[in-house]
Structures are given as structure tokens and as C-alpha cells.
């Protein structure tokens, strides 16, 4: 890596915003035609490192140190020179493809704008280049004409437009900030492949920011690990995993491969199913006085399955496959059009009939978003006690306090946190409170709807341990809904794969992972980033390393 200057060279970069230090002495190089992975948990400063290189920082930001783009110092450049560099020599793509494009401009206009702003080429010429670029990123002109609007495209297609905007002028450096976090696994695999191709073909440098170790292990040549505004470790990818130096990296590494200890479910003869679902159907009809032809959408299509007491079942599928609708139906929140749900041998919900309160008590839920699942105006004890509404006999105040204290302790929180408001808690603590709320009515089944997806890996590992522990202690079953296959693998006995409202495959978790029967399952498994296989492809055997470094 000697000779010409690296495309991006960052040294001693420090950033403070409004006096608060954000980045401290960050430094790394990105050579031509290479991928630099920047990993870290939320709030570690990864995105602000990228925005510093773009010099698109919020007001009150103070930047010191050095950022050199192909040998040219960026810090201190006037704003109009930076405008000339952005989009021209540095391209950037963002996490949220659904909102990153202007809804009122066509995709052609938006790609051509990059060209028009930096060159004096004619409108027609710019549009021609836009068409070529879009074709290059996988949106050929015959199927995706330039006059399409963003809302007519899927998330993955929009992200391709975002990439086209960034690479239209063949920049030297491409910064991708969590480019696939909002996408499904199969789309993620395609977008990552596209980025790899662009790096190889154009010889550009790519700075890939992600929280997912498996993604960087697969993509990056070099990896920098960030914690609290510093790069704590930076090395070639294989080196980093083989000779992990910094304790934080080791912890991150361990957490992302964490498998909670739990008792596997052993099927017993004559067990009555805890939950039995037969031929469940849920249709949506856009109902409004004025909408013309009503087109029904079948979100859940003839779904049948059973769960036994003590068994943990995973439900995986990509967004829009109907898994959340199914979960809501199991919670009695959806009116189903056909089929029936049986709970411990008794009918739970039938078409047009909501379940009774004492039945509902048996199924509780934990949602994905630790921030949106609580009324910000209630105190924790009131939040946790809410499901007690389902009990036929309301507990006395004393009994209520005792129950709240007991569940809070069960999830590892002090009983006296009840007097505080929810905004005083971190994401992981909130998810503990959400679990406490689900457990207070002693349910038999808890639906975990992407319950650990929004958490950083280290917190996720703790919550998974807690869940495994509670499952054995309280004999609760989980229906674990997730798009993340690795999480499901760690904690479930059986796995169901859902697509277009149907369950396409079902079987013991280890069997499904080892030999998927349905082609869709195979596709999902192949697309899902996996640390072990990514490293194996680089000749590193993970199992050996973990024995060495993690004992």
C-alpha cells in the first residue's frame, strides 16, 4: 500500500458539536480500489465521521485534524469548493432509501442533477448519462424509464437510484452509511454485490459504515472498530478477526456470535398444543366510500401451525410477508376472515369474534421499537401494570405494587424504578420493561415481534440471555418473529418461513438451517450475512479463533 496517496487519509480527526466532544483523534486510510469498513454500535460516531469527510456537519461543529482526499486537504476548504467536490469526487449513499429521494422529482432528474450541477453538459446529455448510470446499477431503461417517480419503486430499487446519484460522475470516494440496514436480506445481498462491483470496476475507494460485523467481514479489506468517538482497533480484515487486540472488539465479536444457554424443547407424547392455528385467513379491503374497485389483499393466506408448551418457535420472512399481521391476529387485534385459533384446546378467535379477556391474558407481546412502545406520559409502574386490565378480578393496590416489583426484578431491574418515566431509560432497559409488562399477567405465550432487532449487539446478547432464562424459569413459550436469521437460530427449537402470506417451510431449526427444502428458504439463508461463512471464505476458521481468544 505504498506509492500514490490513498484516496482518503484521515489523521487526528477530532470533532465537537456545541462544545461536546464527538470524535477524538480518529485516523485511517482508504487506498484506491479498496473497501474500508467502519463498524461500531449506535452513537459511536461512525456517521459523523462520514459527515466530517463530506463536511456536512450541523451548526456549531468544530473540526480539527486532517482529512485528505487524494492528497488534498479538505479541512479549511471554503464551502463552494466543498460543493464542487461533493457528488463530483465524493459520492454518498444513505440508510433510508424511502426518504432519501425527493418524492416530487423523477429518478432521471435526480440522477441528471448530479451531472448538471458539476458540468456544463446539456440537459439531454445529462439525461443520457443518467440512463447509462441507472442501467449500470441495475435499473435498465426499458423497465425503469427516467420519468419514474420514487414512490413507484421498491426500497431496494430506490437505493439503487441513490447509488446512481452518488456514482454518476465516477467519484474517487464513495461513502455508504448503513446502505442496507433498512432493506430485506435478499435485497441487501444484491446491493452489497453491486457496491463491490463498482469498487472493482471503477477503482474507487469505498467507506462502508455498518453495525453488522458479518457485512464488513464479507465486504471490507480493512476494518476500523469505533467506540465512543475513537477508533479502538484498525486492521486488515483477516488480521482483525484472527488477532483481536482490543477488549471492546473482543466483546463486540463475542456478543455478535452469542448463543444463549437454554434447555431445548423435547417433544412429549400426548402434549396438548398450547396454540393451534388452522387455515387462518386475513384479507384487507381498502374500505372507503369513494374508492372504486375494491381489491382485496390477502395478508395471511391459509396459515396452519401448532406450538407446544415450552417450545420456542421462530417465524422469519421479509417485510410485507404477513408475519406482523399474523402476530396481530394471534393477539386478537385483527378481524380474521377464515380459520380458527385454538388456545390450550379452547377456541380463541374465530371469524368475527374477538377473544375473551381471560384468554387474551395468555398471549402477550414485546414490540421492536423500545422508544415507541411506551406512553411517554406514564410512569413505569403504570406502564408495566397496564395488562392487569385483563384480569377479571382487579388486584388491590398493594397486590398491584407487589406484582410490578416482582416482574421488574425478574427482568433484572430494581423494583423502585417504577416511579420513573420511560425517557430516563436506555433502549436495552426499555426492552426489559417491555418484557416485564408482557410477563405481569403470567402468559403462556409471548410474541417477540422483532424484539431485539433495534438493539446493539452487546445489549441484544443480554436480552437474549434474559429471554432464555425467563423461558425456562417461568415455562413461557416464545413466538420469535424476526428478519434476522442468526437471532432466530440461537433461541428457537422450530422455525417457520413465511412468504406472501403463506408458510412455505417449517421444521426443527437446525434442520432448516442445515438443509432447507424450499428454494425461498435456501435463497434467504444464502443472502443472510453470516460472520462464520464470510470468514471461512477468507480462509479463517472462526471456531478455532473463538477457542483461542475468548476463553
Amino acid at each position: 500500500m505504498s506509492g500514490s496517496a490513498p484516496i482518503l487519509a484521515v489523521h487526528d480527526l477530532s470533532l465537537s458539536i456545541g462544545g461536546t466532544p464527538i470524535l477524538e483523534e480518529v485516523g485511517f486510510d482508504i487506498p484506491h480500489g479498496s473497501i474500508f469498513g467502519l463498524v461500531g454500535e449506535s452513537g459511536s460516531g461512525k456517521s459523523l465521521t462520514a459527515m466530517s469527510a463530506m463536511r456536512l456537519l450541523p451548526a456549531g461543529a468544530r473540526l480539527t485534524g486532517s482529512i485528505k482526499l487524494a492528497g488534498r486537504e479538505l479541512i479549511g476548504l471554503p464551502e463552494d469548493t466543498m460543493c464542487h467536490l461533493r457528488g463530483n469526487e465524493i459520492g454518498m449513499i444513505f440508510q433510508e432509501p424511502m426518504t432519501a429521494l425527493n418524492p416530487l422529482h423523477t429518478i432521471g432528474q435526480q440522477v441528471a442533477e448530479t451531472i448538471r450541477i458539476h458540468t456544463d453538459r446539456s440537459r439531454k446529455d445529462a439525461l443520457d448519462t443518467a440512463r447509462e448510470t441507472l442501467a449500470r446499477v441495475g435499473l435498465p431503461g426499458d423497465r425503469f424509464p427516467l420519468d419514474r417517480y420514487p414512490h413507484e419503486l421498491s426500497g431496494g430499487q430506490r437505493q439503487r437510484v441513490g447509488i446512481a446519484i452518488a456514482v454518476a460522475l465516477k467519484p474517487k470516494l464513495l461513502i455508504a452509511d448503513e446502505p442496507t440496514t433498512a432493506l430485506d436480506v435478499t435485497t441487501q445481498a444484491q446491493i452489497l454485490q453491486l457496491l463491490k462491483t463498482l469498487v472493482v470496476e471503477d477503482g474507487i475507494g469505498l467507506m462502508l459504515i455498518t453495525h453488522d460485523l458479518a457485512v464488513v467481514a464479507d465486504m471490507a479489506d480493512r476494518i476500523g472498530v469505533m467506540e465512543a468517538g475513537r477508533i479502538v482497533e484498525c486492521a486488515e480484515t483477516t488480521d482483525l478477526f484472527q488477532h483481536t487486540q482490543h477488549p471492546y472488539t473482543q466483546r463486540l465479536f463475542a456478543a455478535s456470535r452469542h448463543v444463549p444457554k437454554r434447555r431445548a424443547y423435547v417433544p412429549q407424547q400426548g402434549d396438548i398444543p398450547l396454540l393451534k392455528v388452522d387455515n387462518l385467513v386475513r384479507d384487507y379491503r381498502p374500505n372507503s366510500l369513494f374508492s372504486g374497485k375494491a381489491r382485496t389483499v390477502r395478508a395471511v393466506d391459509d396459515v396452519s401451525f401448532a406450538m407446544f408448551p415450552g417450545e420456542n418457535v421462530g417465524l422469519v420472512g421479509e417485510s410485507g410477508c404477513g408475519k406482523s399481521t399474523l402476530a396481530r391476529a394471534l393477539l386478537g387485534l385483527e378481524v380474521v376472515q377464515g380459520g380458527q385459533i385454538t388456545l390450550r384446546g379452547k377456541p380463541f378467535a374465530q371469524p368475527g369474534k374477538p377473544p375473551a379477556a381471560d384468554q387474551r391474558r395468555l398471549i402477550q407481546v414485546v414490540f421492536q421499537d423500545p422508544y415507541g412502545s411506551f406512553n411517554p406520559r406514564h410512569r413505569v409502574d403504570r406502564l408495566v401494570a397496564e395488562p392487569l386490565h385483563l384480569l377479571n378480578e382487579r388486584p388491590s393496590d398493594l397486590e398491584r405494587r407487589r406484582k410490578v416489583g416482582a416482574v421488574l426484578e425478574a427482568v433484572g431491574l430494581a423494583a423502585d424504578v417504577g416511579k420513573r418515566f420511560i425517557h430516563e431509560f436506555s433502549g436495552g432497559q426499555r426492552q426489559r420493561i417491555a418484557i416485564a409488562r408482557a410477563l405481569i399477567v403470567e402468559p403462556k405465550l409471548v410474541i417477540l415481534d422483532e424484539a431485539v432487532s433495534a438493539l446493539d449487539v452487546s445489549i441484544r446478547a443480554q436480552i437474549l440471555d434474559l429471554l432464555a432464562d425467563l423461558s425456562s424459569r417461568l415455562s413461557v413459550s416464545y413466538l420469535f418473529i424476526s428478519h434476522d436469521l442468526s437471532v432466530v437460530r440461537a433461541i428457537t427449537d422450530r422455525l417457520m418461513v413465511m412468504r406472501d402470506g403463506r408458510i412455505v417451510e417449517e421444521g426443527p431449526t437446525s434442520d432448516v438451517f442445515a438443509s432447507p427444502k424450499h428454494p425461498y428458504t435456501a435463497e434467504l439463508l444464502a443472502a443472510a450475512p453470516d460472520l462464520g461463512s464470510a470468514l471461512l471464505a477468507r480462509g479463517v476458521d472462526l471456531d478455532q479463533i473463538s477457542q483461542l481468544s475468548l476463553v
Binding site: L333, Q364, D369
Partner: protein
């Protein structure tokens, strides 16, 4: 106004909009309250010999063309304006908010559609037009002004609370309440209403100020409060013929309106800044 930030009064005092607005509002509400049991002079007694006097120790703001004390008239006018606007806002909230919550709870259903179409219908009648119709049939008066402005406020609050409630109904904490077996009515008052309260309070201050403007307009054209009740709009109407002779008669009631409305708008702006959840997140 319950919740995490009500016990931090200092923050409120550091917001200039809020502070100035609160002071202006307090002054005029204070004047109105004092006028209930005391005014510097009796505004019912006419004294033509003392007409159009300039400000003096006896009449701080001078007298009008009937010799009435202008300060007393302004105080009673404040009472009229504030009473009409406040009751009209109350009418709008008491009817509009439940309608909006109901529509949101039945989102997409025919009740929702019906309530929204009712809103469209009321919006087709600007408050002034409504007042004209009501006055044409029932005659002018403060009560009719309240009815007209109040009806106009209904769809404002219905729409606002529907929109606020709709965004809340998709949130997970509402889902959690449904899982806990709570019905739409209970969720609406237990979870939704407290979370849109800020929105409603801010809108209420805005509608309050619009109500004062509307009341002034109506009484200016003779459709509002009738004598012997003093009102700012009527004082302006009376002053118009003498505007060259005694411009202060036109200036003082006008300034009273401007300052009151300004105060309420600043108060609303300040409250919005102080209770904006986005700002709250930044502060944490």
C-alpha cells in the same frame, strides 16, 4: 400538561416568546377580571360636556364622543372580547375534540368519513358568513357571535385531534394497550388525549386570538355585542366618523386588539417550542 416537563418552570421563563406572550395576556385578562367589579368610571353614564377629553389624571386615556372614560371602556371591552372568544374556543374544543378522537378511533370507517365531510361542510362557511346568517335570522348579539365563532372552531379542533390521534394509533404503545384489552374509548382518553394535549393547547391559544379578531370584526360591523356592552370593535366603528378629529379613539382600541392577539400568539408559539417533542429529544 402532565408529564416530564411540567415541573421545570424556569425553562418557560427563559423563552422570550412565552414570557412576553404570558405578560401581555395576563395584563388583558387582568383588566377584564378587574372590570367585573371595578372600573375607573361608569361607562353607562353619558356626559356630553366631557366629550373627547385628552388623557388626564381623571381619565387616563381621555374620553370618547359621549364623554365616557376610555380606560373603563377598554376594560369592559377586554371582558367582552375575552369572554366571547374563550367560550367560542370552549365550544369548539368540547365538540370538536371528541369528534376528532371518535373519527380516528374508527379510522377508515363510515363514521370517520361522515365526520370529515361534516368538517368540509362547516369549513365552507367562513365564521363571518355564519355570523351574518345567524344575525339575519336571530338578530345581532354577543351570544350569536359566540355561536358563530364556536361552530367555526369545531372542525378546527376535530381535524387537529383526528390527525394527532391517527399518528398515535399506529404507535406500539397503543398496540400494547389494545393487547391489554382496553377499548377505543378508554385508549382515547387514557393514552391519546394526554399525548395530544400540547397540540390542542397551542391551537387553543391560536383560536382564542382568532376569536378575538373575529369578535372585533363582527362588532365593528354591528353584528356582535350590542350596547350598553362595550366592545373594542364597536368602539372602532364609532370612532371612524371622527377619525380626523380624534384619532386616539381609533388608535387605542385598535392597539388593545393588536396587543391582546399578539400576546396570545406569542404565548402559543412559546408553548409550541417548549413542548415540541423534537426539541424535547434534543434537550435530553
Amino acid at each position: 400538561m402532565s408529564g416530564a416537563y411540567s415541573h421545570r418552570p424556569r425553562r418557560y421563563l427563559r423563552n422570550p416568546s412565552f414570557l412576553l406572550g404570558a405578560i401581555l395576556t395576563a395584563i388583558f385578562v387582568g383588566l377584564a377580571l378587574v372590570s367585573l367589579f371595578w372600573t375607573p368610571a361608569d361607562i353607562a353614564r353619558l356626559n356630553v360636556s366631557a366629550r373627547l377629553l385628552p388623557p388626564s389624571p381623571q381619565n387616563w386615556l381621555g374620553t370618547d364622543h359621549y364623554g365616557r372614560d376610555l380606560l373603563s371602556m377598554i376594560m369592559v371591552g377586554a371582558r367582552t372580547s375575552i369572554a366571547v372568544a374563550l367560550i367560542a374556543v370552549g365550544v369548539g374544543m368540547v365538540i370538536g375534540v371528541p369528534l376528532g378522537l371518535w373519527a380516528a378511533a374508527r379510522r377508515g370507517g363510515w363514521i370517520d368519513e361522515l365526520i370529515m365531510r361534516f368538517n368540509d361542510l362547516v369549513f365552507a362557511f367562513p365564521a363571518l358568513l355564519l355570523a351574518i346568517m345567524i344575525t339575519a335570522v336571530f338578530g345581532p348579539g354577543a351570544v350569536n357571535a359566540i355561536v358563530a365563532i364556536g361552530i367555526f372552531n369545531i372542525p378546527v379542533f376535530a381535524r387537529l385531534s383526528r390527525a394527532g390521534a391517527l399518528s398515535l394509533w399506529t404507535r406500539d404503545f397503543i398496540m400494547a394497550a389494545r393487547v391489554a384489552g382496553k377499548g377505543a374509548v378508554r385508549i382515547s382518553y387514557e393514552h391519546i388525549l394526554p399525548n395530544i394535549a400540547n397540540l390542542l393547547i397551542v391551537q387553543a391559544t391560536i383560536q382564542f386570538s382568532l376569536g378575538i379578531l373575529a369578535e372585533a370584526g363582527l362588532s365593528y360591523v354591528g353584528l356582535g355585542a350590542q350596547p350598553p356592552l362595550a366592545s373594542w370593535g364597536r368602539m372602532l366603528a364609532d370612532s371612524q366618523t371622527m377619525i380626523a378629529l380624534a384619532p386616539q379613539l381609533a388608535l387605542i382600541p385598535g392597539l388593545a386588539i393588536v396587543l391582546t392577539v399578539l400576546g396570545l400568539n406569542l404565548l402559543g408559539d412559546g408553548l409550541r417550542d417548549l413542548t415540541d417533542p423534537r426539541m424535547e429529544a434534543v434537550r435530553r
